[in-house]
């Protein structure tokens, strides 16, 4: 069966530190993968999506970047975190018309 793993579940990082959130999927090949951010009062915002290895589309300009080094791996990164990067980050994998979501990472930048 298809599953999606996202880690870590929670993260507290100081301002200016780097970030790396990892997402992997199992049980499928060549998935479309997405990173969303859920910020308080702002709903779910699409950050990046990838249709294949090395292919990244950015939806909003920001302090974050994404990479797809392997078919089933999608990484969200930052070189220097800002306070405004705090939020709940969700990795998603699309199957047909719907999507499966990871359990999310609660990032607090202090």
């Amino acid at each position: 069966s298809q599953t999606i793993h996202q880690w870590p579940a929670t993260l507290v990082q100081p301002v200016g530190s780097p970030l790396s959130l990892e997402c992997t999927v199992e049980g499928t090949s060549n998935p479309n993968l997405y990173w969303y951010r859920q910020a308080a009062g702002r709903g779910l915002q699409l950050l990046f999506y990838s249709v294949g290895i090395g292919q990244i589309s950015s939806e909003v300009p920001q302090n974050l970047s994404a990479s797809r080094p392997q078919d089933r791996q999608f990484i969200l990164s930052s070189k220097k975190l800002l306070l405004s990067d705090s939020g709940f980050y969700l990795c998603a994998w699309r199957l047909g018309g719907g999507a499966f979501f990871g359990q999310g990472t609660r990032l607090t930048v202090v």
Partner: protein, 115 residues
């Protein structure tokens, strides 16, 4: 570009009350529509989806939604809510013309059901 509007930020209902959460989207083409739910401390789950056919869609846990094309709406309904329905609800849309386009989400509506 597609966008989704959810009219209510926070809805508070008593148990057994009826629920209707509004969702409007803007997109001129053919769309697929979704409602997702996120219970406290849990991850997003699909409640129901509309692709084509009968515009009244039945989902899990007694939820349903009606696609009204002329109004660009996909409102979520439940005749009688329970305390366990307390959660955040997200409406989402994607173009059905391209297999790669991502879901665009509304800002979510928080539902609090009180005894």
């Amino acid at each position: 570009a597609q966008s989704v509007s959810q009219h209510n930020h926070h809805v508070i209902l008593s148990e057994a009350a009826s629920l209707e959460l509004g969702c409007n989207y803007s997109y001129g083409g053919t769309v697929n529509l979704f409602w997702y739910v996120q219970y406290p401390g849990q991850h997003l789950q699909l409640l129901l989806k509309y692709f084509s056919g009968d515009p009244l869609v039945k989902g899990i846990k007694g939820f349903e939604a009606e696609f009204i094309k002329s109004k660009f709406s996909f409102n979520l309904r439940k005749p009688s809510v329970q305390w366990s329905d307390t959660a955040e609800y997200f409406c989402a849309v994607k173009s059905s013309n391209s297999g790669n386009t991502p879901l665009v989400f509304g800002k979510g509506t928080r539902l609090s059901v009180i005894a």
